[in-house]
């Protein structure tokens, strides 16, 4: 089964365990500044929103790359940056409509979410299930289930 990251901002407390897990997985350091998932705090609305690459089917970044440094991981569907090929031209960062591929001046390469090869550290670390890794064909399943329950008028009698 192919899976997707699924984010429910309503459950996010803003603890940044996901950012630490991501950076630790990719760099060996607890370092939110190197995390590929970011949590945004919309303070006056009281909302915290984690955001990362959605792994578009028609990936702008992949199509824009002049040196074919972004490949599809067949197992996970992730669009993965090949560090050995990336020349750091940043064209993909312009092409991505969502801002989820970024250049790192430390490495001279771009970086983006690679789904950790199929076991995303952010989802593992999230204490509230705001970030889960679920069947990519059924990301709406839980919401459907909730509506099914709500609309089941007979159950309320």
């Amino acid at each position: 089964m192919q899976k997707s990251l699924h984010i429910d901002p309503g459950k996010c407390t803003g603890c940044l365990q996901c950012e630490m897990a991501c950076s630790y997985e990719h760099t060996g350091f607890f370092n939110p500044s190197r995390s590929l998932i970011k949590v945004f705090d919309f303070h006056h609305e009281g909302r915290k929103v984690p955001y990362t690459c959605t792994q578009c089917a028609e990936a702008w970044c992949l199509n824009a790359c002049p040196v074919e440094a972004i490949k599809i991981d067949a197992a996970t569907g992730a669009k993965v940056v090949l560090d050995a090929v990336c020349v750091g031209c940043k064209v993909c960062t312009i092409a991505c409509p969502f801002g989820t591929v970024n250049y790192s001046h430390e490495t001279g390469k771009v970086q983006k979410c690679d789904l950790c090869g199929g076991d995303p550290a952010c989802a593992d670390a999230c204490p509230t299930n705001a970030i889960t890794y679920i069947d990519s064909d059924w990301t709406g399943l839980e919401r459907m289930r909730q509506w099914a329950q709500k609309t089941d008028s007979a159950a309320r009698v």
Binding site: T13, G14, C15, L16, Q17, M20, A21, S23, Y24, T27, G28, F29, F30, N31, P32, S33, R34, H43, H44, E45, G46, R47, K48, A125, P127, T128
Partner: protein, 615 residues
């Protein structure tokens, strides 16, 4: 390793920033944060120093677990000599600033001297610079944070700063980071103000590595998170209700200090409780509480984010306060509410917002208003003197006095001196509900005998976070004890105080100890840090820290006669409820406490105790 092994030393008089190596011999004895910063402070300042003089120093210290994946590992402490108390001050804050400081590569910042002009400290990894803050002086914490992010074009900057209260040297001024997390108590913000240091803005991109045993650390941290998630208090109670879950519980025990400790039950408790924060308001159909929020790395997430009622008199013409912002914790709700007899939740939230916005400790502020209202009630302070009527229960007075105190206007200047100096000024020192000059938090020392002793012996004046006996006397953690009983309390308190000193030195939050014991904490420290961090050595370290602080306080002029409670708690029995008839019987516990601590009957650590602890 977990430590970055680097200290940033700032001399404000000379305008210099320098890097020095962390004293690893001390790190092995004091771990980090509270313990290690205290070790530096006592070796670098004269205990007799005026806290608001350039000769005092102020230290911002992380722990070895700050900035790691250990749950709650985001704490930092501010250690200095406190202006409110004249003893060692150690105020602990969460939010995101502490971890950011660590990510920039610093274990602590030691600030000394006094700048001739207002400055702020800007840190970007190894680069540190003092920059002019003339334009920030006179502005709030919130304005300062926004201005610095804009100036440095860096929305990810983390800022710890003072508001106007700190600038005006309000003796209970706080240092606030991330808008509403605070190193709140003992007036550490006034020390920052006295040094003309407005803010510290830090951006760290180096991260925390060098964990001694990464695999063991990740296993221990994961196991710890599981324990927190499965515990009823840390897994459900605190995230859902916050610390405010206590309001009704403590009130029902007759342990909720009310109207400057005249009473122990508050008839309005229900209206200012966690439950009330969840209910939909009649005015706008929305609940006061918007959501909960975590500090860095915290899997409990007890923080409150609230939205004030836009139609409330305090804010109806002030839309800048209408958005969601830091909400009432139990201590703030008690101090701003019950301590004054005010049961208007929205008024409490307004005062709370002002405390966050201009950097004041809501406990000491609210308790000082409680003392003022009693003085007013007795006819000792007049309406003309204050500039308004201030009877118990007046939400209008609370809101107006919060503004006046935060801004240093009129009678607000007198309130900014704290309850002890206020009551002394009017010839009624016995009406000040303080120990060593610091106002009580939200548990009556008569109703909970162990807490009474905890207050009397706390090294930073009245405080619930030095030995939280409530844990045992109310919740039964780790074992249930009778709150009316004095026997055995001295021994338990010593154990609590020593263990708390360990937690406060690690980078972790003390709220974890609702679920965690040393069995959960020790493996995380041991895996992260080189050296012997067995439970025995950690607990002995906690005892060492306690005695180090005590020695400093004794040298600062404290004696055994300061280890006491106000006469009201010793002599006036609780009037109602489960605690009816009780007084604080610390005389029954204190000699045993001194003896268990290895102190003389005068409360001085003996030579044998000092030698045993390596002091």
């Amino acid at each position: 390793m977990a430590w970055t092994r680097k200290i940033l030393r700032i001399n404000l008089t000379q305008g210099t920033c320098s890097s020095e190596a962390l004293n690893m011999e001390w790190a092995a004895q004091y771990l980090g944060q509270r313990g290690l910063a205290s070790r530096y402070l006592v070796s670098e300042i004269d205990p007799g120093v005026d806290p608001l003089s350039p000769e005092n120093k102020i230290i911002y210290a992380t722990g070895p677990l700050t900035g790691t994946m250990a749950s709650t590992g985001g704490r930092y402490s501010v250690v200095t000599k406190g202006p409110l108390t004249g003893v060692i001050a150690c105020s602990n804050s969460g939010g995101f600033f502490g971890a950011e400081l660590k990510f920039a590569g610093w274990d602590m910042i030691i600030v000394e001297g006094r700048s001739p002009k207002p400055v702020y400290l800007h840190i970007e990894n190894e680069l540190a610079e003092l920059l002019p803050a003339d334009d920030l002086w006179g502005t709030t914490v919130w304005a300062t944070e926004a201005a610095l992010k804009k100036r440095h074009q860096d929305p990810l900057l983390r800022v710890s700063s003072i508001g106007r209260a700190g600038e005006n040297q309000v003796l209970f001024a706080a240092i606030v980071n991330d808008l509403h997390r605070a190193a709140g108590r003992s007036g550490v913000g006034a020390v920052m103000g006295s040094k003309n240091l407005k803010a510290i803005a830090v951006r760290g991109t180096r991260g925390v590595g060098n964990i001694a045993d990464p695999r063991a650390f990740m296993a221990a941290a994961t196991a710890g998170k599981k324990v927190l998630a499965e515990n009823a208090v840390t897994g459900q109670g605190l995230p859902t209700y916050g610390t405010q879950v206590l309001m009704n519980v403590i009130n029902e025990m007759g342990a909720l200090p009310t109207r400057n400790h005249r009473d122990v039950e508050f008839e309005g408790a229900r209206k200012i409780s966690a439950e009330a924060m969840h209910e939909k308001r009649a005015t706008d159909g929305r609940a006061h509480l918007v959501t909960n929020q975590a500090c860095f790395g915290c899997t409990i997430a007890c923080g409150r984010i609230s939205r004030i009622d836009e139609t409330h008199f305090s804010v109806e013409t002030k839309p800048e306060y209408w958005g969601a912002s830091g909400g009432l914790e139990y201590e703030a709700a008690w101090a701003l509410g019950s301590a004054n007899g005010v049961d208007d939740l929205e008024a409490l939230q307004f005062a709370n917002l002002l405390c966050n916005e201009d950097g004041m400790d809501p406990i000491s502020f609210g308790a000082t208003i409680g003392a003022l209202m009693e003085l007013y009630d007795l006819g000792i302070v007049s309406k003309e003197e204050i500039g308004l009527e201030a009877p118990f229960g007046s939400a209008e007075a609370l809101c107006k006095l919060a503004e006046m105190t935060a801004r240093g206007e009129g009678f607000g200047k007198t309130i900014g001196l704290g309850s002890k100096r206020l009551c002394e000024k009017y010839g009624k020192p016995e009406l000040s509900m303080t120990v060593k000059g610091q106002e009580f938090p939200a548990y009556d020392g008569r109703a909970l005998q162990g807490m009474g002793l905890a207050y009397a012996t706390s090294n930073r004046g009245a405080c619930h976070l030095r030995g939280y006996m409530v844990s045992s006397e109310v919740f039964g953690i780790p074992v249930k004890t009778d709150p009316r009983e004095t026997a055995g309390k001295a021994e338990m308190l010593k154990a609590f105080q020593d263990a708390t000193a360990v937690v406060d030195s690690s980078g972790l939050c003390v709220f974890t100890t609702f679920a965690w014991t040393m069995n959960d904490i020790q493996p995380q420290i041991q895996a992260a840090c080189e050296g012997d961090w067995s439970q025995d050595s950690l607990l002995q370290m906690g005892e060492r820290i306690w005695n180090l602080e005590r020695d400093f306080n004794l040298a600062a002029g404290i004696t055994a006669k300061d280890d006491t409670l106000p006469p009201r708690l010793l002599n006036e029995p609780c009037k109602t409820g489960g605690s009816k008839g009780m007084v604080a019987e610390i005389g029954k516990m204190l000699p045993e406490y001194y003896s268990l601590r290895g102190w003389t009957p005068e409360g001085v650590p003996t030579a044998a105790t000092r030698s045993r602890l390596g002091l």
